[in-house]
Structure formats: structure tokens, C-alpha cells
């Protein structure tokens, strides 16, 4: 480090500090806010097409399918991934392992801006002539392979595919960064089996994503060739043949692990909240870690259960069905162990806890209702009906919305230095749960009635006509659900700027390392101190001396003051002092 560069560093401009920042916390917040904003857009799309279902004919058929498609794509790739991986991962991983930043800060920044570019392309794909792609978020060819012929939206389709590719690239950068960071930058004393469960889940998710997404990237490349160059990898003409089933395989080889990619961080969030709010060590920590690893491995072996009636070999369907049922074992183990963590605890019904409990309960429903879909014969009837819709909303909405908002309520004080209102949080949770069940649960009955998905107008069918009122009920619930989230959006923004200030860096009296840092943590996180880990991550309900003093937990590590600061920290601290002086000058002059 030369003197020249140190002179520059403490005059970080607005752009370097908030926009093109390499600080993991700023990048995490960027991901989080972008994700939440996209969640509003995805939710609004859901409202629009649900309105059409309650009042058929409001939208044209193409518009209806376009909103359905973009709702799915946005919620998976531009909401779930940025919030759970980009947002929480970036915010928490370095703090939880006691590092000062990610292993590759510049790569981290690039990851966010690649993601941002993908958002721009996504929006552009909606606005180009012909409108957006409307062939479903699964992109099945041949419908997507000749968009001009079948869907009438070639530019939109190409842009959507490019946006997807960029999103994958950005998340790959993030995943590589997470794994490299956790493997090499853990603080002294932090062995692998002392990592908080959340960090375990994040790196497992990163592994899963890296190993599963690449076949889909290849498939998207081939699909783009089909569209642009007229090849026939996935489409069939009278003279030349490709295989639509091949795309489905490559898609679901990614698609199934992808669900776990977003599920694992959500389970990590639940583990953190359950332990600190029930004041109890995580039951069977090591077993839970192994369950996660086994579930991750198994997730590569079950993909074809999405294709039981899609023309695959009926013999291999049997194998995939059995493996699918086996994968319920590690997940039921996780749920049982989380339950045991709660039972025997001293449960505080705080706002994040209510969200987390709601997520847990909904996930039980989501997990169980997956069984009729994984069982191959009942899947014949349920395939591509509203039963599937209900099932994946019980899993994915739980993961993406309930767990994420639980995490937001839980870690908001740490990262913004202010609180989200507690009483509002409880009402928010309860109302969200009610309206969420109001739209998701009736879908089970529609699925039982054999109502296929993605029908713009069910009045075309005799046997479906009587269910119109169910759609209206679901639409009303969706509107109310969305309204509650809009209120939350306002409260969220207000709390960032004008919420109640927190003074205690550890308001939940939690054990993991991030609560040792000041709220909000400064650049390079630990200042002139440094944590050293001495315990496992969940030392709650401790006995002995501390308990007599009314302290029921043992922080995972202790902060030590450094005698000699690492060069960059010293430089940064010096810089910070000067900067605040200059701010004072500015304010007074």
C-alpha cells in the first residue's frame, strides 16, 4: 500500500461507498433491497393474473400467460436467490465467521452488478415489441424454441434467456465467493462443526447451485441457438428432430436442487431464530449438518419426478419415485429436530419468532403435500394441476417470504441500527399467514378437482365451472395479502431512516459472532478488535455461575483488542476519523 492510495481511501465518494462498494454489508443490503423490490413486482404480477382468474376476460390470453411466467421467474430467480443467498449470505457469512470481508470483495461487487444488469434485461424483455415471454417459467421447448411462431415474442424471449444467464453468472460468482470465504477465512477457533447452522446451509446451497446450474446454462445456450440459428436441439420438424425431453431433464436437474438452494438458507434462518428465541441449543447439531449434506446429495438424484408423465422411461420413473420418497427422510429429520429444539425451550413469541413458527408450520404442510406428487401414480392425476401450485406455494412461499421476513425482523437491528416495530411485526405475521392460507389452501381442492394450471379461463370446462367462486376467494386473499406487504414496505423504509435506535448490539441475547459487532457493523466489521471463537454456536440455557447471574447464554466467542492493527484496518480507522472531522466541518460551515 503506497501513501498515495491510502490518501485516497478515506475519501470514498458516495459512489464507492454506497453504489460500487466492495463492503459485503453494502452489497448484501443492495441484494436485499433489490430482491424485496422485485418481490413487490412479482407480487403485483400475481395480483394481475389472479384478477383475471376471478374475472375471466380482463386480460388477453397472452398477457395472462406472460404475467404467470414472469411471476414464477421473478419469484425464483430475482427474489428468492438475491434475498436468501445474495442478501443474507453476504450480510451474515463474514460476520458469522468473524472475517472482515469476503475473500474476493471485487468479485462480490461484480456479482451484484451482474445481477443488476440481469434485472435491467428482465425489465427490458417485458417492454420490447411483442412483449415478454409467455411460455411458463420452466421454458419448455418447443414452445420456447420458436417463440416467434408459437408465442409471438422473440426479442422478449431472447432477453429473458440472457437475463437468466446473467443471473446464474452472478449467483455463481457469489457461490464461489461464499465457499472460498468460509473455507479459508474462518476466525481462530471456528472449526467446521462450530459454524452456525446458517453458514453451513449457505455453503451447502452454494455447492448445490454451482454443481446443478451448469447443465442448465448449457441447455439455455442450446435453446438460444435453436431460437437464433434455427438448429433443432429441442424442437421437432417434419424432417429433423431434437428432443424436448432432453431440455426437461437438464432443466429439472437444476430445478430440483434449486429448490434446496433456496430452502437451505431459509432453514438456516429458522435455526438461528428458534435457538435464540427458545433459548435452547440446537438439538442434534451435527446430525442436522449431516442431514443437510445427505439431502444435498440426494437432491441430485430425484429430478425426474417432475416428469413422470412427460414421456420418460416408466422404469426409471420408479427409481426416481423411490429416491424422491427417500429424500423426505433428511428433511423430516430436520423438521423433527427443529421441533425438539422448540419443545423444552422457553419460547418468546417475538415478531421474528412468530414468522419463523409460521414458516415451520407451513413447511410441514408443504413437505407432506409433496408426497402425492413424488408418488408416481397419484402424480398422474396431480401433475400440472393446481395441486402442484398449492404444494409449491406452501414450500416456496414459506421459504421465500415467510423465512426471509423472519430473518429481516431478526437481523434488521444489526444491519440498520434501528428496530422494526415489534407489535406491527406480530400483526404482519398473523395477517400474512391468514391471507396466505386463504389463497394457497383452496388450491389443493382445485387440484383435487383436476383443475389444470395456467388456464386463463376455467369457464371453458363443464367440470370446472363450479369452482369459479374458489378462484374469487383466492383472488380476494391475494389482494389482502399484497396490501399487507405494501404496508410492510412502508414500515420497512420508514424504519431504515426513522426507526427506534438500538443501543444494545445484542438485542436478542444471541450467541453467534455477528452479535458481538456493533450495530450496524462498521466497514471491516471489527475495528481494532477481533473475535476469537471458544464455543459451539448455540450455547443457550447454560448452567453454573452465569445462570445464577441471570445470563442464560454463552457467546460463541470473545472480542480481543489487537495490539497492532492490520494495515488496512489502521488505515481505515484513521481515514474514518478524518472523514468524520470533515463532515463536522461541512455541517458547521
Amino acid at each position: 500500500m503506497s501513501a498515495a492510495s491510502s490518501a485516497h481511501a478515506h475519501e470514498l465518494s458516495f459512489w464507492r461507498k454506497y453504489i460500487f462498494s466492495t463492503d459485503h454489508k453494502v452489497i448484501g443490503k443492495q441484494y436485499l433491497l433489490t430482491g424485496l423490490f422485485m418481490a413487490l413486482i412479482g407480487g403485483a404480477f400475481a395480483l394481475i393474473f389472479r384478477w383475471n382468474l376471478a374475472n375471466p376476460g380482463t386480460l388477453t390470453d397472452k398477457q395472462y400467460l406472460m404475467f404467470v411466467t414472469y411471476h414464477g421467474s421473478i419469484m425464483f430467480f430475482w427474489v428468492a436467490m438475491p434475498i436468501l443467498l445474495g442478501g443474507f449470505g453476504n450480510l451474515l457469512i463474514p460476520l458469522m465467521i468473524g472475517a472482515r470481508d469476503m475473500a474476493f470483495p471485487v468479485l462480490n461487487m461484480l456479482s451484484y452488478w451482474t445481477f443488476f444488469l440481469s434485472v435491467v434485461l428482465l425489465v427490458a424483455s417485458l417492454l420490447v415489441p411483442g412483449g415478454g415471454f409467455s411460455g411458463g417459467w420452466t421454458l419448455y421447448p418447443p414452445l420456447s424454441a420458436i417463440p416467434d411462431l408459437y408465442m409471438g415474442a422473440e426479442p422478449g424471449t431472447i432477453l429473458l434467456l440472457l437475463a437468466l444467464a446473467l443471473e446464474f453468472a452472478s449467483m455463481l460468482m457469489g457461490g464461489i465467493n461464499y465457499v472460498a470465504t468460509v473455507f479459508t477465512m474462518r476466525v481462530k477457533g471456528l472449526t467446521f462443526f462450530r459454524l452456525p447452522y446458517f453458514v453451513w446451509m449457505q455453503i451447502l446451497a452454494a455447492f448445490l447451485f454451482m454443481l446443478s446450474v451448469t447443465p442448465l446454462i448449457a441447455a439455455v445456450f442450446l435453446l438460444l441457438m435453436d431460437i437464433l440459428l434455427g438448429t433443432h436441439f429441442f424442437r421437432v420438424t417434419a424432417e429433423q428432430a431434437g428432443s424436448p425431453v432432453l431440455f426437461q431433464h437438464l432443466f429439472w436437474f437444476f430445478g430440483h436442487p434449486e429448490v434446496y438452494v433456496i430452502l437451505f438458507p431459509a432453514l438456516g434462518i429458522l435455526a438461528e431464530i428458534f435457538t435464540s428465541q427458545a433459548r435452547r441449543p440446537l438439538f442434534g447439531y451435527r446430525t442436522l449438518v449431516w442431514a443437510g449434506i445427505i439431502a444435498g446429495i440426494l437432491s441430485f438424484l430425484v429430478w425426474a419426478h417432475h416428469q413422470f408423465v412427460a414421456g420418460i422411461n416408466p422404469y426409471s420413473a420408479i427409481g426416481f419415485s423411490i429416491l424422491t420418497v427417500i429424500i423426505s427422510v433428511p428433511f423430516s429429520l430436520m423438521l423433527i429436530y427443529f421441533g425438539i429444539t422448540l419443545a423444552g425451550g422457553s419460547i418468546r413469541f417475538s415478531a421474528p419468532m412468530i414468522w419463523a413458527l409460521g414458516a415451520y408450520a407451513m413447511f410441514i404442510i408443504g413437505g407432506l403435500t409433496g408426497l402425492p406428487l413424488g408418488a408416481l401414480t397419484s402424480d398422474i392425476y396431480f401433475h400440472d394441476t393446481y395441486y402442484v401450485v398449492a404444494h409449491f406455494h406452501y414450500t416456496v412461499f414459506t421459504i421465500v417470504i415467510l423465512s426471509s421476513i423472519a430473518g429481516i425482523y431478526y437481523w434488521f437491528p444489526k444491519f440498520f441500527g434501528r428496530k422494526l416495530p415489534e407489535r406491527f411485526g406480530k400483526w404482519h405475521a398473523i395477517l400474512t399467514l391468514i391471507f396466505y392460507n386463504g389463497f394457497a389452501f383452496p388450491a389443493f381442492f382445485l387440484g383435487m378437482a383436476g383443475h389444470p394450471r395456467r388456464y386463463a379461463d376455467i369457464l371453458a370446462y363443464n367440470y370446472l365451472e363450479e369452482f369459479q367462486w374458489v378462484h374469487q376467494l383466492m383472488t380476494i386473499s391475494t389482494i389482502l395479502l399484497f396490501a399487507v406487504q405494501i404496508v410492510f414496505a412502508f414500515v420497512f423504509i420508514r424504519s431504515i431512516f426513522a426507526g427506534e435506535q438500538v443501543t444494545d448490539p445484542n438485542p436478542w441475547r444471541a450467541t453467534t459472532l455477528e452479535w458481538l459487532a456493533p450495530s450496524p457493523p462498521p466497514h471491516l466489521n471489527w475495528g481494532d478488535t477481533q473475535p476469537v471463537v471458544e464455543h459451539g454456536p448455540y450455547e443457550y440455557a447454560v448452567n453454573g455461575e452465569l445462570a445464577k447471574q441471570g445470563i442464560d447464554f454463552l457467546p460463541q466467542g470473545k472480542l480481543y483488542r489487537l495490539q497492532k492493527l492490520p494495515e488496512e484496518v489502521a488505515h481505515h480507522l484513521g481515514g474514518k476519523g478524518e472523514q468524520s472531522e470533515s463532515e463536522v466541518e461541512k455541517a458547521t460551515s
Binding site: 454443481l211 447443465p215 421437432v236 417434419a238 424432417e239 429433423q240 428432430a241 431433464h249 429430478w303
Partner: protein, 126 residues
């Protein structure tokens, strides 16, 4: 060996493999390339298509092994790095096993039925 890292934080390139070894491997690679071309051009008619293809792919695998082991230093790495070669190969095999039976059936049907069945016009005349 910068930094004095006793566990060999990456300074493996020297000492274990020298320039001479690299050049020898290069010559080997060239020899196998020549062999592949010769076999494909001369022996295709003698032994038939499939055996020659298998042989040439075997030569390629030998060449790839040399590059991976020496040029990419996997021979000197521990499992934590080598894993990133093995895992993709495992995934490849996995996908082949899962997809193979279906795709084989599908494509076999496709090419044989493409003219008689997929286009209705091909098979039915009125």
C-alpha cells in the same frame, strides 16, 4: 516459496516438475496427436468405425490425463482441489445414467418415426 508457509501454500510448481518434464510431456502429446490422426486416416477402413473411435478417444483421454496431472498440477494437489475434477465427472455420469435411457429411446423413436408419425401428413393419406 513466499511467505514461508510450511504446509506448502501453493508453491508446488518448482521442485516437483521442471521445464524438462514439461517439454517431454509436450512431445508426448504431439506424438499421441499424430497417432490419433494416423489411426483415424489409415485404420478406419480396416477396423471399422466404432473400434477406431474408441481408440482415438482413449488416446485423447491419455493426453488429457497428462495435461491434468502435470500441466494443471493435479498430481501434486490434495483431494480438496482434485475433488473439483471428480465431482463434475460424477455429475456427468449421473446425468448420463438418469437421462440416457429416456433420451436414447426418445431419439431412436424420433429418427425412425419422424417421417411416419410426427408429421401426420407423413403417415396418413386421404
Amino acid at each position: 516459496m513466499a511467505g514461508g508457509s510450511a504446509k506448502g501454500g501453493g508453491g508446488h510448481a518448482e521442485g516437483v516438475a521442471g521445464v524438462r518434464l514439461y517439454v517431454w510431456i509436450y512431445i508426448l502429446l504431439l506424438a499421441f496427436t499424430g497417432l490419433s490422426v494416423a489411426v483415424s486416416q489409415l485404420l478406419m477402413d480396416v477396423f471399422g468405425h466404432t473400434p477406431v473411435t474408441v481408440a482415438i478417444l482413449a488416446f485423447s483421454t491419455i493426453k488429457a490425463t497428462f495435461i491434468l496431472a502435470y500441466y494443471m498440477h493435479l498430481k501434486y494437489e490434495r483431494i480438496w482441489i482434485r475433488m473439483w475434477l471428480y465431482l463434475p465427472l460424477a455429475i456427468f455420469v449421473l446425468v448420463l445414467i438418469g437421462v440416457g435411457p429416456d433420451i436414447y429411446l426418445v431419439l431412436r423413436d424420433l429418427w425412425t418415426h419422424i417421417l411416419t408419425f410426427a408429421g401426420v401428413s407423413g403417415g396418413v393419406h386421404h
